[in-house]
Symmetry: C2
Subunit: 356 residues, 2 copies
């Protein structure tokens, strides 16, 4: 199951509301959604790939994943955060694939550099899922990042690991920390970034929803009936009435048998231009410029230049991001690229909806 | 006489070979050529304004200065530096206006902020010219700039000054100095920037050419005959055969009776984006951004943003120049904007003539 509902403001001006980053070929010649599907190719046949996305993006998903059956692509009529989306997909999979199915949830807009290790990790996680665990993948932190939730791991579950891949119990989920707290986590050890990837059997997830979100059950049943009987109107009517709440908060943090599989798989959420630059400059010298399009640089270093439509000429820039699109250009230091949200806010205030 | 032959590389990408900066409305709603003519309005009637420019730019000059008679606009078929251009105009003016005429030479692409003082200065200079001097305007240096030639002044010519405006003898013309030398000039005092503006009678200039560049005389005579008899072909044939040499080198530096009038008139040659920023931010706080077009800045200060066609969004930029045009964008620190010549060179090497 690929949740592909991201809003697309963090890579503005390249990503827009109409084309969030999962639909962009921003890392390679394939879009991030396509790369997510490609990564699963050896493990999951296309008719077992499901996508839940914003209703307005069902068309782009169908175009980008032509091998995935149309009925596997569900369009949310309104964003209700992750709990309703994941729960609906578990309810749908119970009917379509059966309760014993292992459900893998992988966001559509992340990068994973080590595909082979990622697949091995998923197989280990799937095995733990079959043993009754809700399994999250834990990314070994590269620094005291304050933009991610953290997972505090506990004892090793000896019988569930395979080869070099461990399965650990989860002591606690931690919300996005302040910098000092994040530094403490790093010093202490045993903490991982929560990357929003998890694995469980459909039966286990269904049980968790019945226990922790019973009020959604009737809605799920009606929507799934509608979808399977060719009546998508039910989805449009009922989905927007479900509680707006996150899966981590409503389910994961309340579950008992939760495990974490440390996954040093070259993961990156591409949550800002600076983070994308990290991916694109992987294995290169830090002073190298990353250029997509046409650039002439005089004494410019360590910069990310995206300008497929026109020449960007720079003199004496250091660690700068330049993103040139037909109607807007962004220029900022790599280290401050997360502040693009303030630009997006300013555009909303101005009412410049064509630029959002 | 307005020489308007500048090549237009220093304000790339706004200025191009086809539209050098004198033809751009880059400082105000009027083009720099128009502002140069406007500045003379109270002193010189339009039929006494003459322009010498590149032949390809005769059309734009006619359009921008509709009040100037077409026969006053001379198009050089090839650039031969300033001596042939000035000499030809002096020869033409001798026939059209008479030898006693005071000829004022003012480049088309400079800014002067204090128009009133400038006009007073010109009147004083014209008086000194009538007394037999070749008069240059000297700009009090604002710093040890290495981009200008310097004029070393001598004694005051008491009888020629008027009010606060002095007329000084010239000891020596100095070529563009190294930084230490420029600093020495400033410490010593009595030095001025050579702004390329000068005043002399036509008779005096003709005499200087006959003395120092006698080999051009026959050419001038034939071309002027051609122009006055409606046969511009002669210009096309003969002008390119004249020696390529500068007026300062060939004439001014060799003349005897040369004077300089200090002119603290808010002059700026707009020789780089940084120099244009100085003009546009005149009287404003140094942290103010100068914006032409659409800009959203988050913590951006002291920057020059030109982007009439699209939004430029910036975060955390300090003293940066951003020039956005339909086919090329330039980004550089103000202090390094003179290095745009390296970009232009790179484009020549690439053969990207459409961007030049």
């Amino acid at each position: 199951v690929i949740p592909a509902g991201g809003g697309g403001t963090r890579l503005w001006p390249r990503s827009r509301q109409a084309t969030p980053k999962q639909f962009l070929d921003i890392v390679s010649h394939r879009t991030m959604l396509q790369e997510t599907a490609d990564r699963l190719e050896e493990l999951v046949p296309p008719d077992r790939v499901f996508v839940i996305t914003n209703a307005r993006h069902v068309g782009p998903v169908r175009e980008q994943l032509p091998e995935v059956p149309h009925e596997n692509i569900v369009g949310e009529p309104a964003g209700r955060d992750s709990a309703p989306a994941i729960g609906l997909m578990a309810a749908l999979l119970e009917r379509v694939c059966g309760a014993d199915t292992v459900m893998i949830v992988l966001p559509a807009d992340h990068v994973i550099l080590d595909d082979a290790l990622f697949r091995e990790t998923l197989l280990t996680a799937a095995n733990a899922a079959r043993q009754g665990y809700l399994v999250t993948l834990g990314i070994p932190p590269k620094g005291p990042d304050t933009g991610f939730g953290y997972i505090q791991s506990g004892a090793k579950l000896e019988q569930l690991g395979s080869g070099d891949i461990d399965v650990l119990t989860v002591k606690q989920f931690k919300e996005k920390p302040k910098r000092e707290v994040a530094q403490q986590y790093l010093a202490e050890g045993g903490y991982f970034w929560n990357a929003g990837m998890f694995i469980a059997t459909v039966a286990h997830l269904r049980e968790l929803y019945r226990t922790h979100l019973p009020q959604m059950e009737a809605g799920f049943a009606q929507i799934v009936d509608g979808l399977l009987n060719g009546n998508p109107k039910v989805l449009e009517e009922i989905f927007p009435t479900l509680d707006k709440i996150s899966f981590d908060y409503a389910v994961t943090e309340k579950a008992d048998r939760v495990a974490v599989v440390p996954a040093d798989i070259g993961w990156n959420d591409v949550g800002s231009w600076g983070r994308l630059a990290e991916v694109l400059s992987h294995g290169k010298h830090e002073s190298t410029n990353i250029v997509v399009g046409d650039h002439i640089g005089v004494d410019t270093h360590g910069s990310l230049i995206y300008s497929p439509h026109r020449l960007v000429a720079t003199i004496g820039l250091e660690d700068i991001v330049v993103i040139d699109t037909p109607d807007a250009t962004l220029i900022c230091p790599k280290s401050r690229s997360e502040e693009v949200k303030h630009i997006v806010e300013a555009l909303k205030v101005r009412g410049d909806h064509h630029l959002l």
